[in-house]
Symmetry: C2
Subunit: 327 residues, 2 copies
Amino acid sequence: MSVKTAAIIGGGVIGGGWAARFLLNGWNVRIFDPAPDTERKVLEILDNARESLPQLADVQMPAEGDLSFVADIETAVTGALWIQESVPERIEMKHEVFKLIQKHAPETAVLGSSTSGYKPTVLQENATRPGQILVAHPFNPVYLLPLVEVVAGQQTDPSIVDTACELLTGVGMKPLRVRKEIDAHIADRFLEAVWREGLWLIKDGIATTEEIDDAIRFGFGLRWGQMGLFETYRVAGGEAGMAHFMAQFGPCLEWPWTKLMDVPELTDELVDKIASQSDEQSGAHTIRELERIRDNNLVAMMRGLKQTNWGAGKLLNDHDQRMKDET
Amino acid sequence: MSVKTAAIIGGGVIGGGWAARFLLNGWNVRIFDPAPDTERKVLEILDNARESLPQLADVQMPAEGDLSFVADIETAVTGALWIQESVPERIEMKHEVFKLIQKHAPETAVLGSSTSGYKPTVLQENATRPGQILVAHPFNPVYLLPLVEVVAGQQTDPSIVDTACELLTGVGMKPLRVRKEIDAHIADRFLEAVWREGLWLIKDGIATTEEIDDAIRFGFGLRWGQMGLFETYRVAGGEAGMAHFMAQFGPCLEWPWTKLMDVPELTDELVDKIASQSDEQSGAHTIRELERIRDNNLVAMMRGLKQTNWGAGKLLNDHDQRMKDET
């Protein structure tokens, strides 16, 4: 079996996370990013990934592939099987990058974008080969969290979507095929809704950043880490079922707090308030420490779910099994 | 040390969960609910709690208290230290129940309401002793999830709030003192925001209930189970800090999807769509099975967090330590 090659275009937190995910799953990885500190930052992410990801596997992980930092897009993408674009969220820049990529990329390569906001059809505009472009939107830290939203644009070749999902599964991820293009795909729309409500609560002095985090992580965050929203409510509805639950919970939609649906203005004052509350909450830890705490927690929770063979844990067990079958 | 007594008024999923929480932590529990199947339902909840909660402790749990199902509020509340109201969300009924409770309850008892929507000041209207009334809003399953939102009304005696938080900590919970009264307190406002967005996505055919659950539990649900919202973003913002993160993420607030803030109409068609998708997603499991799956998952994730001594795991370790110190 020949070693697969991934080209990572844009080496920030997300691009670096992709690099780690592919590399630790045995792929060769070539990274292109003109920023001077790319190598240092990616190697730091890789350090975190090397410490945490192997703890999730109960089988031998493949030998790491080769990692190289390259000087141009051409060198990065030539002969690559997967090309992942994670450049800043400016559409002109993305179009420009896709043009350069497609000049040199194999026609059969998957060309995934990490965009959290743009629809794939928008990314495909004026592309040389729109058929190979899709959205593959991951979640930070990319080397640990399994979810990838895979979204096809109007011109995406269906076989490229199949290939993408297969390759993502191969590196231990959970590709979620999104049925219809929509701004921000699925998960970020929820994050946006919660973020908006969080900003209101802080602005109005109802809660601090820490209190909001506590309200989430000691309660529904734990529920959502394993069952999500609807399954949780199905269980809460009891024997009478989901329709009964909705009859009970539905009226809340008309309660007064649903009026708070404006977008709060992001004034300097509000930004300062949040930043200083956040400093107070966790300023004692460096970001590096917090990353390690987060990674250790995610590993611990997912290892727990491996024992119950559910959700992310079942995914990991299935992945272990595939690795065993292959060797 | 004399055994403490809790009176549970309303024995549904929430009241039954409270009963289990107190009972397994050594309290005597008296339950009043006029519904004929209360005893069966509470005993089922108790079965689940007995299987799961002790798995979270690494020390000997106290001997269970005595459980009784009583015929009236007077018998339930006489001599009780904690009285928890979990009757349906109708304000007239709650006022009526409080009146009956206060006729017989000790003046020093904590009188907590499980209401998810009403402000404590509204609950206090026309009460005999408004000072002892507060909101103590828990999360299902109450015997496993630590969070309780503790909200004081305008007339709540501050010493009752202190007592409440101390007693809740004693049964292994995480009391979150909410600074200001607001409809739905804190956590349910987030749940409402996400629920609303979920209804839109289903109504518009973007995703099914299962796809939405996957988008949550394979991604940000895992993050939120340990760090919540703001801490997660602080880490994502990297060395440049929270203000930098907000500068990056802030503009999303003006993106098109923020327009989707109307309340979707809960038509029969939409209810049917959700109910049938949910059946397809998990109809293979009975609710009883799903409860056990959920509880096992929550235990596994929280036990993982005990190892990293973080969030709910740190809370459990601290609780273990207190239990050891007491014996």
